[in-house]
């Protein structure tokens, strides 16, 4: 009897990370690809930082310049390659995570940009828009392809996040007039993300 019960039990999921419902999970392959995209973004950021230090100190030779350029192209191609693999598999959740992580790799909260004062300052400020756009596209595709229950949970969570953020922004506009400081838009991002997370928790519990 016990053996039968064990045989009927579904295989244990090694890693499960749910956003739109209880069935989404990352495969080992997807975890590797997300990690490699993030590592490429971090390596690119470090390379840009080293390049900008050499540039400002005047130690940048044409050979080094060429090496950095080749390294940058290689890292961007590597990230693009993994993104392409995930997209071809229609694995939207890892694409979303990789896009968000690659974007976050360049994020400098309340600090100067990575290559401040060099020719790369503006391109590096604009570069993270590409992974952010991919994450946006992946998120919309994920919602479009979600099943009925997942879509319903997400829809309720999104409407909750929408109204909570709308009310909080209007309330904070008043608090600003009362003397509170103007906050960085990062905090609005956080409000939206947290209220979405709270919405998902509340509404997914309802359908359990």
């Amino acid at each position: 009897m016990n053996a039968d019960v064990t045989a009927e039990r579904p295989p244990k999921k090694r890693f499960e990370f749910t956003a739109c419902g209880p069935s989404v999970k990352l495969s080992r392959e997807a975890i590797q690809e997300v990690s490699l995209v993030y590592a490429s973004a971090i390596a690119l950021r470090i390379a840009v930082k080293v390049w900008s230090r050499l540039e400002t100190s005047g130690k940048l030779t044409p050979t080094r310049n060429l090496l950095f350029a080749a390294g940058g192209v290689l890292l961007i191609s590597l990230a693009a390659f993994f993104f392409r693999r995930m997209i071809r598999r229609r694995d939207y959740w890892p694409v979303f995570m990789a896009g968000a992580l690659a974007f976050a790799a360049f994020f400098r909260f309340d600090k100067a940009p990575v290559a401040a004062g060099t020719a790369l300052e503006k391109p590096i400020v604009l570069l993270p828009i590409l992974p952010a756009a991919l994450a946006t596209w992946a998120f919309l595709s994920m919602i479009r392809e979600a099943d009925e229950l997942e879509r319903r949970i997400n829809y309720q969570a999104l409407s909750f996040a929408f109204v909570v953020t709308f009310a909080v922004t209007l309330a904070y506009a008043l608090l600003e007039d009362l003397g509170l400081p103007r906050v960085s838009s990062f905090w609005w991002w956080l409000t939206l993300a947290i209220s979405w997370g709270v919405g998902l928790t509340i509404y997914s519990r309802r359908y359990r």
Partner: protein, 129 residues
């Protein structure tokens, strides 16, 4: 339920939503006036704004519950678009703050949220026409 009854209930929902949102905006604007901030304790002003925010959430929730399957699908896609646009903009803007742009006003955030939702409704309802 006849089409007229559904239409009239939706109209009522929209009127309620716009009314409550207008009340919240009006309270925020009045409470921000220097004369009012001097005369009324800050706790009372904050409580007034939060008291207006609660009904807004309830009315919006009721509105979404009353939608039919197709309208709900369009609203879901529009909400997703609004969420992603706002979250990406709020995440990207600190980079521009680093370049020297001033921090965003909360009203601008609310505007981005609502206008991207409106664009989503317009765009996705065209798809199902």
């Amino acid at each position: 339920m006849t089409r007229e009854v559904v239409a009239s209930r939706r109209r009522k929902n929209w009127i309620e939503f716009v009314g409550v949102a207008a009340c919240l905006l009006a309270i925020s604007l009045v409470a921000g006036l220097p004369a009012v901030t001097r005369a009324v304790p800050p706790g009372v002003l904050i409580a007034a704004v939060l008291a207006a925010a609660g009904p807004l959430i309830a009315v919006f929730g009721g509105m979404l519950r009353d939608l039919d399957e197709l309208e709900r699908r369009i609203a879901a896609e529009a909400l997703a678009l609004s969420f992603v646009v706002t979250i990406a903009a709020m995440f990207a803007y600190p980079f521009l703050e680093g370049v020297g742009l001033p921090p965003l006003r909360p009203q601008t955030v609310a505007f981005v949220l609502v206008s991207s939702f409106a664009v989503g409704i317009e765009r996705f309802s065209r798809r199902y026409q």
